[in-house]
Symmetry: D3
Subunit: 135 residues, 6 copies
């Protein structure tokens, strides 16, 4: 059970309903997921987070599936159960296969491993890896 | 300064040298980065980690650039300075542009934000997001 | 189910009972929460943790509600389900409203986002932000 | 050195300059901190992040100093050096004393400790702490 | 429910069965735990992870119980519920008592606390603690 | 530079001096490390943290070297540079060899990896791993 009640479509205020409608229209779906129903308790946050997600997750120089997979990588590293489920579902809906998920998680696991070896040994950054700027 | 000395090529034992040679050959480069020179203090770990990275980061159902970007996403979330530098350099060498880096970091930042909103409100996982299994 | 049994009041040893009594007296409540019943398996830790919490969470230069909200901020960032529940309940008991919780979580989410942008870009600390010391 | 060049005011494009001007006007200051100069490489992110921070950190049901302290709590937990410096400076500018900082960090440290005791023992959430909803 | 189906022994392919057999033989047990049944969806990862765990967790300069306790320390810090359960069970099977678990968790909690005090105050590393290298 | 000045022995108040003396006597050393000189700005925290560390890190059912290694495991996972240095030095002073450090970090790296595989796949806890309680 969430820390605040979920705002179902039927009892939402018109501004909240308008955002729910936009979520469904944008996603071409006929339901709103729990994240938004919870966030809707604070309409300013609902408006801001939806605008942000629409902008950040839109196709750009990275395609939407790559963005979903990056989202999974972060959510797994942070162990956010809700986010692991919602973004794995999102990536599957955009075409991610079981084998791609397996490779993604293998990279995420490995990165978490070498992150600790690098930190534990306090490996100094190679000059060759530092960004070159100027001129 | 790292917690153990870095093993330079010239004073490496033959088995360590052989792995250094394979690292350079695989990457078509003429130098070995500090991570390996530090790890080389424990040859069993050097052998194991290099074999693992070669396998996991090889092209598969995900392309090598996508894998590097997933690595960055994890390293940024964990704040591993060495790994942020090495894998951002790696991704740039594979063609990542400044704009792609910007979009990548925007997704990573956003995922870290919504991870906390989902956790803080204890949003329950939607049934629709749960994996369906079996026939 | 916890990793060790919970020590209920009735079967607690006198020293454990005395701490349970102090917990209830300090909080003006008539029950002891599960955290303490689990910790009570190791009486030295029970004694030490309760003394620490009494000292750190007491009113000081920060008021108790602010301290509870800081506790929530950490617990959400670490995704500790128990602590999110216990300290959100604690903050509500001290007067936190739904809107204050919403603002708190908005800040926590945002901080987690900009933390990653700062790390991902390796933004150098401004001289103006460094503490000034001496004379 | 950051991963991308810092965009100084003098060589910024007019839209970036306009945001720099708004940052300085809002803060009643005459300089722009490095975070923004780095983010400015991706003007869409600059615009979005500044709008978000202005909205979230504005006075609301929580006062600006409390918000800065929550920001510090998260940044310390994540070990973001830049953010620790910038938000500690920000909190001091809003009146935080050394003693308040000491109490804040004592709570942050303690919360990180009990988070792990709760997780390590898998303490079950008390029914009394679960949110009550509905009539 | 896991994100992919669990591969039970009876419907496993021969190479997966061979690894399951080796897991049971190595552990002198007659069942395979869920981690492997899930990982088995990607046989290359199953093979690699099992070989790695066999190598890293084998007796060496550290005894197997110490290694299990280090595993618990990491899993508690990351809040990985599965790993907390599996490695606490593993450590108990190797002789860890309730009191040793209590001391282990007390250290883990304390380390998480002082990590944040060190970070929050940005305590500089003492010269005496830096590794001394060279002749 | 730390966020607050370091309190050197010579200008410490008598109660702070007394704790510095106890730190040096307990450790049989003739200097006080920076952590305490920073914490000393808040004498109540200095007193509490030193008492806690003396109690938790004392020999008990786990020996002091094992406790130092657990401390390293947590500090590496959290990437606390100060703590990695101070506790690696502490463990070396208690006899930890380079090879033991290598094995420790191999376990820490591996645990961080499998933590993410377990979370990413949402592997359900085996009944066999759950603690059995009662008669």
């Amino acid at each position: 059970m969430p820390m605040v009640p979920m705002i179902e479509y039927d009892r939402a205020t018109p501004p909240v309903k308008a955002i729910y409608d936009d979520i469904m229209a944008t996603r071409n779906s006929n339901w709103v997921n729990n994240f938004w129903k919870v966030i809707a308790n604070h309409p300013a946050t609902l408006r801001r987070m939806w605008a942000t997600i629409k902008e950040v997750m839109a196709p750009g120089k990275l395609d939407p599936l790559t963005k979903e997979m990056l989202y999974i990588a972060v959510s797994v590293t942070n162990n956010c159960e809700y986010c692991i489920h919602s973004h794995t579902a999102g990536a599957r809906a955009k075409g991610m296969t079981d084998e791609q998920l397996a490779e993604l998680l293998a990279v995420v696991g490995l990165a978490n491993e070498t992150n600790r070896l690098a930190n534990g040994y306090q490996v100094p950054v190679d000059e060759q890896f530092r960004p070159k700027q100027g001129a």
